[in-house]
């Protein structure tokens, strides 16, 4: 059952912090609904970029309706940020199968972020002026909280597309290109200490 927790996002039109909610453990059907809500604006924005000869973001092809099948298993969970009646971001996590690679947490379980994405209208690479900022921050904070709840002490990890690496490099250890990963992406890991700093350093 989906529960809600308050958070805040920055509305870019007036630069004001506005109330939003984290939706915990959303269902497969809810993820598909969000995908269908996003898809028309995603396609319109891609069409616009193509007409202007601009490159598409690296995650342009992501399809949450197929990723949602993972939610048939206990190991996966999905979270959303909702504001002004629409999902502003989505995140899928895995709570098994990933172990720390950094010296002081080698072998200890880490929460792995399978996918994390802002709504198309919030992606700087897709639209000129995103509607909301802080979506990724709110979802990463959620991942840290779930990691702590699982007994993982806030440790999280993910593989990042090149376009997002500068963001993660500010808060996590960059362990470089991961040849064991199918898409050869950079692997990032957050320690307990970094997680505490992240949570304390950001508005809720």
């Amino acid at each position: 059952m989906t529960s809600r927790r308050p958070t805040r996002l920055l509305r870019r039109s007036d630069e004001k912090l506005v109330q939003a909610e984290i939706l915990n453990e959303i269902s497969r059907d809810e993820v598909i609904d969000i995908h269908m809500d996003w898809q028309p604006e995603r396609l319109a924005a891609l069409k616009n970029l193509r007409s202007q000869g601009k490159p598409w973001p690296e995650n342009w092809h992501w399809d949450w309706s197929t990723k949602a099948d993972n939610l048939n298993f206990l190991a996966y969970r999905c979270f959303a940020v909702e504001c002004e009646g629409r999902a502003q971001g989505l995140m899928m996590i895995a709570t098994i199968g990933w172990r720390g690679r950094i010296d002081n947490q080698i072998g200890k379980p880490v929460l792995y972020i399978e996918y994390i994405e802002s709504a198309p209208w919030n992606l700087a690479g897709l639209v000129e002026t995103p509607r909301f900022s802080g979506v990724g921050i709110a979802l990463i904070r959620t991942a840290i909280q779930v990691s702590a709840d699982e007994g993982f002490a806030g440790r999280i990890a993910l593989h990042s597309l090149p376009q997002s690496q500068p963001f993660y490099r500010r808060y996590m250890h960059d362990l470089g290109m991961d040849a064991s990963h199918g898409e050869n992406l950079c692997y990032f890991e957050m320690t307990e200490k970094q997680a505490n700093q992240f949570v304390k350093g950001r508005p809720s």
Binding site: E25, L74, T95, I96, G97, K108, P109, E150, G151, A153
Partner: protein, 69 residues
């Protein structure tokens, strides 16, 4: 996770020692280790049931051993 329920788990001495060793190695509570095991079992079992195979590879990547639960 919401709506948690409590249960009693009866383990042999050997099973309890194994559980405690995992808790120590992973820095997790007994509940957390059991949860991890359940999630893994569910996922692997479903993949095997749908025709998937599970392999372990040694450090030289030379051998692969098929195991089935």
């Amino acid at each position: 996770m919401s709506d948690k329920r409590t249960m009693t788990l009866n383990l042999s001495d050997a099973e309890m020692r194994a559980l405690e060793a995992l808790c120590e190695q992973k820095d997790l509570s007994k509940t957390a280790v059991i949860r991890q095991a359940l999630r893994l079992y569910q996922l692997v079992d479903a993949r095997l049931a749908s025709g998937g195979k599970l392999f372990f590879e040694d450090s030289k990547k030379a051998k692969a051993e098929l195991i089935a639960l």
